[in-house]
Subunit: 151 residues, 2 copies
């Protein structure tokens, strides 16, 4: 019996998911990073750009390029933090909220596709295993091992 190769299959799932997710984003005029930033702001209003970067899996410098078009399109607004004059906070605008709302059936369709063959009861288990894997991987740092022997 072949060992399950989780590393390989997780990568395959992510690669198989990408064109579906990217197509939904592109149809809404967004990059995947921009969509992710919008959803993070929907859940966590009033983040700084660096907080948003961290929660969106990108570097602070990358987030500036991600967010500028969203500010330009008035999907996101940037305002002074009332409690810290020198801090700027990002929020969805009503237009940004409306765009997420408009995208939600297409996003939902991708979600449904992922679990198309998995019955209702098992979906919660699948979500639980995925979160467990993320937690285990996040809490352990990569270790140096398996060095290649010199010729």
């Amino acid at each position: 019996m072949e060992l399950t190769n989780f590393t390989y299959v997780i990568k395959q799932v992510e690669l198989a998911l990408r064109p579906h997710f990217n197509a939904v984003c592109a149809n809404a005029g967004l990059t995947p990073a921009q969509y992710t930033a919008l959803t993070v702001l929907a859940r966590r209003p009033g983040l700084t750009s660096s907080e948003l970067a961290r929660r969106s899996f990108v570097r602070a410098q990358t987030m500036a390029a991600t967010i500028e078009p969203l500010l330009g399109d008035r999907l996101v607004r940037r305002e002074q933090d009332p409690t810290h004059q020198r801090r700027m906070l990002l929020d969805l605008t009503p237009k940004g909220e409306a765009l997420l709302e408009e995208m939600s059936p297409a996003i939902r369709a991708v979600e449904d596709l992922i679990v198309a063959e998995i019955d209702e009861n098992a979906r919660a288990d699948f979500a639980h295993y995925l979160r467990s894997a993320r937690r285990s991987l996040d809490t352990a740092g990569p270790r140096p091992s398996g060095r290649r022997s010199p010729d």
Copy 2:
């Protein structure tokens, strides 16, 4: 209750996995793409470069750059297909097999980490759900939907 966001959590798992997997590859002097190519050849000896590309998730052009250092390091060999004179087939060398063998405890450690919190019996379920997700996503093409409304 918040809806499970599989799209988001799958991306998170893949991102959390990446530094672990990349570190194991780097310690062996390989890129992740090169390691993947070696494992594909271990399972499927005698592939053409374009078959190997397809199974390793990269473009045919990309595979050339991936495989050249492996040929140079004599981890992989390229020989004429005895049944099709004009076709070149790729195979692991004994040195390539030995490198995979040497890396296998470190790779196994990453695998173990992914499922560290998941009990033995549930691991097969997790693997099954992942394969099911891959299959569903692979068989459906992305559909245009959720277009952004013009201003």
